[in-house]
């Protein structure tokens, strides 16, 4: 496969797939770099995606590559604007699969209201693998908004945007050839985050809940804020299908990966309003208040279990599951 040579084959690949699907005036110039309008403060991030299989119920590597970076930008309080994407293709990667993935990226970018302004393709030896890196820029256009994992304070309330574990369970089911109804939750959360950012409510911390799961994120909040966070197992939404699978495989939804969920910590007086905003946003129908910041040992995350006991949660140790996003 000579498509990574930089010559004719490369430009054919770009023209036939990337330019066709990502078509926009900035990309169309085909310059070495995109020159684009900016903003006084920008948020910038990058992420690489190596999920296997590349197609799975509810999404594909392209959709994740867009949503993942969009969500990282949105969680910092910015409005996602521009993405670049780098493809690393192993020899043997199928043209048809690449096109499906690129089309899926274009669709996700449209929904997330971002423009893909630059890209790169490399071909390496291998056996058909497809890997994507996306970098993104967001505009910090709401003045005065600042959220941080270190801002949680006693009395604050923890809100989760929906059910846990769907992405992890979908990937696992695909790998194990288990037929079920579970779909990845892969989705852009920019509308939900923006609703919170623009609301003027006292939003202390926001984070998308990806690898490592909810427990890992909240443990980090507790440590960074020198706070004690307690969550209620009974309030944490998990779909019956995911719960069934975790029961069989001995997985814990609190540590499972998601691709379209966020958790936020807000001041107690604003909790109900924030919950309503999240529920009204796309992908937030099952949002729920799941816990509070309580007086207690600092840097501690506690789970009040459905059985009525209390368990201390740590960050995820070990692999969980390799190559899941």
């Amino acid at each position: 496969m000579a498509h990574g040579s930089g010559g004719k084959e490369t430009s054919d690949l770009i023209a036939s797939i990337f330019a066709k699907h990502f078509n926009n005036p900035i990309l169309a110039k085909m310059e070495d770099s995109a020159v684009i309008p900016g903003c006084a403060r920008i948020a910038m991030t990058t992420d690489s995606f190596v999920v296997k299989p590349v197609f799975f119920p509810g999404g594909d590597i392209g959709k994740i590559a867009v949503c993942g970076t969009v969500n990282d930008l949105a969680m910092s309080g910015s409005t996602p604007k521009y993405l670049t994407c780098g493809f690393i293709l192993e020899e043997g990667a199928e043209f048809e699969a690449i096109e499906r993935i690129v089309a899926s990226m274009a669709k996700a970018a449209k929904e997330a209201n971002v423009i893909i302004v630059g890209g790169d393709t490399k071909v390496i030896e291998g056996s058909g693998g497809i890997y994507i890196n996306t970098a993104g820029v967001g505009f910090m256009d709401v003045s005065g908004f600042e959220a941080s994992s270190s801002f949680c304070a006693k009395g604050d309330v923890v809100i989760l945007s929906g059910t846990l574990g769907d992405h992890h369970a979908a990937i696992l089911s695909a790998r194990m050839n288990i037929e079920n109804e579970i779909k990845s939750d892969c989705a852009p959360l920019h509308v939900m985050a923006s609703a919170l950012v623009q609301s003027g409510l006292k939003v202390k911390s926001m984070r998308d809940v990806t690898r490592g799961g909810l427990a890992t994120v909240l443990h980090e909040f507790a440590v960074a804020s020198k706070a004690c966070i307690r969550i209620e197992e009974k309030e944490i939404p998990v779909s019956p299908q995911v719960l069934g699978l975790t029961g069989i495989l001995g997985l814990d939804p609190l540590y499972m990966a998601n691709e379209g969920k966020m958790v936020t910590v807000v001041a107690k007086e604003d909790a109900e309003k924030a919950l309503e905003l999240m529920r009204k946003s796309p992908y937030g129908a099952h949002a729920a208040i799941i816990g509070t910041v309580i007086p207690g040992d600092t840097g501690t995350l506690l789970l009040h279990t459905a059985t009525g006991g209390t368990r201390t949660l740590t960050e995820l140790y070990g692999e969980g599951l390799p190559r899941i996003c």
Partner: protein, 346 residues
């Protein structure tokens, strides 16, 4: 609050030590926060029911050696990859060229073996009665489909005699939360002779928090009444006689044998091995008895037998963590040390 919860929380009688034998119970107890609901007079001790944890180092060494042989690939459940042998785990040996695959079910081997006929797949067949039944099904399939390039490296354990060993040791266990999954196969009657001989009660329990609490309540009552009998508190799936079909399938391929247990040495007739007529499927499992951990201070052996809690080990939480496990109990999520560490149990 229901009565049994109040009873367990406020219990102020004779201090007692109850052993949960099965690793799945250890994980469920941590998961549900059960220790926080018990009076300090009721102590839960994890027993030898995590298959990875009771595996001796010579077995791991043999597995590593096989993974380095040409055209041989080791297939295993995930946990086994990180268990340290005398000097290395499978994962450590990857840099030397160790070849291994993680599978979710032994039956995944059928597909692997059919796709890659030039390789021999060796499955790390560890486990108790429940898993032995699955290995028997695998052999049924291998034979039916005429697949010759799959072998088992067995380290198979059975329950009753190791519990008898614990009763005879000086670990001072007053009662047992008997393994639910194993009992499905063997039946709850299996524990009756030991209960009687040692006057120690057993409760066969399910894995939900509520089921565990009720079983603990029953055990505390029986211990105080000095009643050595078996209570089946998981009757929806466990019968007195067990699953006869599974028992027959196991007996078709496997026979009783001596087995080496981490921390306990060789216990006669406490394991199973492939019957002589199926020797062709064995990857050299005989006489893997030696057990020398690579860190001499590791107390896995004492933890498994209930003699010490994980937190009593000098390595626990400092040198030995889930990222740098020194012994098998810190590797598996069903291992006592991992469970204590991950849930900050003390």
């Amino acid at each position: 609050m229901t009565d049994y919860r109040t009873f367990l929380g406020e219990y102020d009688g004779k201090p007692m030590r109850i052993m949960e034998v099965c690793g799945t119970h250890t994980a469920a107890i941590s998961h549900c926060g059960i220790p926080s609901l018990l009076s300090p007079k009721i102590e839960l001790i994890s027993g030898p029911g995590c298959p990875v944890c009771v595996t001796v180092t010579e077995y791991i060494d043999r597995l590593v050696a096989l993974s380095l042989e040409s055209n041989t690939v080791v297939a295993t459940f995930g946990d086994m990859i990180r268990v340290p042998g005398t000097s290395k785990s499978l994962q450590d040996a990857r840099a030397d060229g160790a070849k291994f695959r993680m599978v979710y079910s032994p039956l995944d081997l059928i597909k692997l073996a059919r796709e890659e006929t030039d390789k021999t797949f060796v499955f790390a067949a560890v486990g108790f009665e429940t898993t032995i039944a699955v290995y028997a099904s695998l052999l049924d399939e291998l034979i039916a489909q005429g697949i010759r390039n799959v072998k088992l490296l067995t380290s198979l354990k059975t329950m009753p005699l190791v519990i008898d060993w614990v009763c005879r040791s000086k670990s001072g266990i007053d009662g047992f939360l008997a393994p639910g999954h194993v009992s499905v196969i063997t039946g709850s009657d299996l524990f009756a002779p030991i209960a009687k001989e040692h006057t120690i009660p057993f409760a066969v329990a399910g894995f939900e928090g509520e089921q565990i609490l009720v079983a603990l309540y029953a055990l505390v009552k029986l211990i105080n009444a000095h009643e050595g009998r078996v209570m089946n508190m998981y009757p929806s799936v466990v019968t007195a006689e067990g699953n006869k079909t599974a028992q027959k399938l196991i007996a078709k391929y496997f026979e009783s044998s001596d087995a080496a247990w981490r921390g306990m040495g060789v216990i006669p007739r406490s394991g199973m091995k492939l019957r002589a007529e199926y020797e062709a499927y064995d990857a050299g499992s005989e006489n893997l008895y030696s057990d020398r951990g690579h860190n001499a201070q590791c107390r896995c052996a004492k933890v498994i037998t209930g003699a010490e809690k994980p937190s009593a080990c000098p390595l626990f939480g400092s040198v030995c963590t889930p990222q740098t496990p020194q012994g098998a109990c810190m590797v598996s999520s069903e291992g006592s040390c991992h469970s204590y560490f991950a849930n900050r149990r003390r």
